[in-house]
């Protein structure tokens, strides 16, 4: 049983560009959350998707947007990249209504030059 898978694993972009990160949740999970982890910091909640809709959002600008597909996979899009967007982006999946823990993917390391 595959866990949470993310792609790509590494990405290098330049300021002003746009990026799309992808996540496939663990089998049986219906909810996907995205986190940004800057170097030496704890993960920061970006948003969560359930039933193809954004259910909750953290303190991130509108440049950060997402999508969830009918198969529960998800994308994170970041427009007009800034140097400060360089971070590890983590996807976590869960089953809504369950007391089960969150499962995290290995992350996408984004570097903005």
């Amino acid at each position: 049983d595959a866990g949470v898978t993310q792609s790509p694993t590494h990405l290098i972009k330049t300021r002003g560009q746009q990026v799309t990160l992808r996540c496939s949740p663990k089998s049986g999970h219906d909810t996907v959350s995205w986190y940004q982890q800057a170097l030496g910091q704890g993960p920061q909640f970006i948003f969560q998707y359930y039933e193809e809709e954004e259910r909750q959002r953290g303190n991130f600008p509108d440049r950060f947007s997402g999508h969830q597909f009918p198969n529960y996979s998800s994308e994170l899009n970041v427009n007009a990249l800034l140097l400060g967007d360089s971070a590890l982006y983590l996807c976590a999946s869960s089953l809504t209504g369950s007391n089960e823990k969150l499962f995290f993917g290995s992350g996408t390391q984004l570097s903005v030059l």
Partner: protein
């Protein structure tokens, strides 16, 4: 707004010693997580604590939750080098879905 504070943020200790990491949070919650992260890696779930007085143990790690004090502890018994990592406490807001992480405790165990 929910805030999560861990202390210490950095801990260097000898093998064989015991120590405790503390996690305080600012608003009501009844779901708390502990995660481990190795350098350059993702987060590995250690414990989920769901109710006041919950205690869970796995090997040399034991976690507890006091919802009235808004405090969780992660206790390390007879530390070994393999436990060197960064440990995060994370708290889920009541009636919300987002989980707020602490800044992490970077644990370095000296052989």
């Amino acid at each position: 707004e929910l805030k999560v504070e861990q202390n210490p943020l950095f801990l260097s200790m000898q093998e064989g010693k015991n120590y405790t990491i503390y996690c305080n949070y600012s608003t009501t919650s009844d779901r708390l997580y502990w995660y481990r992260q190795d350098p350059g890696k993702s987060l590995e779930s250690l414990f989920v604590l769901l109710s006041n007085g919950a205690v869970k143990q796995e090997g040399r790690l034991m976690a507890s939750l006091d919802t009235k004090a808004r405090l969780s502890t992660l206790h390390i018994t007879a530390a070994v080098h393999d436990l060197s990592a960064t440990y995060f406490c994370a708290v889920q807001e009541n009636r919300a879905d987002k989980i707020i992480f602490g800044k992490g405790t970077r644990l370095h165990i000296l052989p």
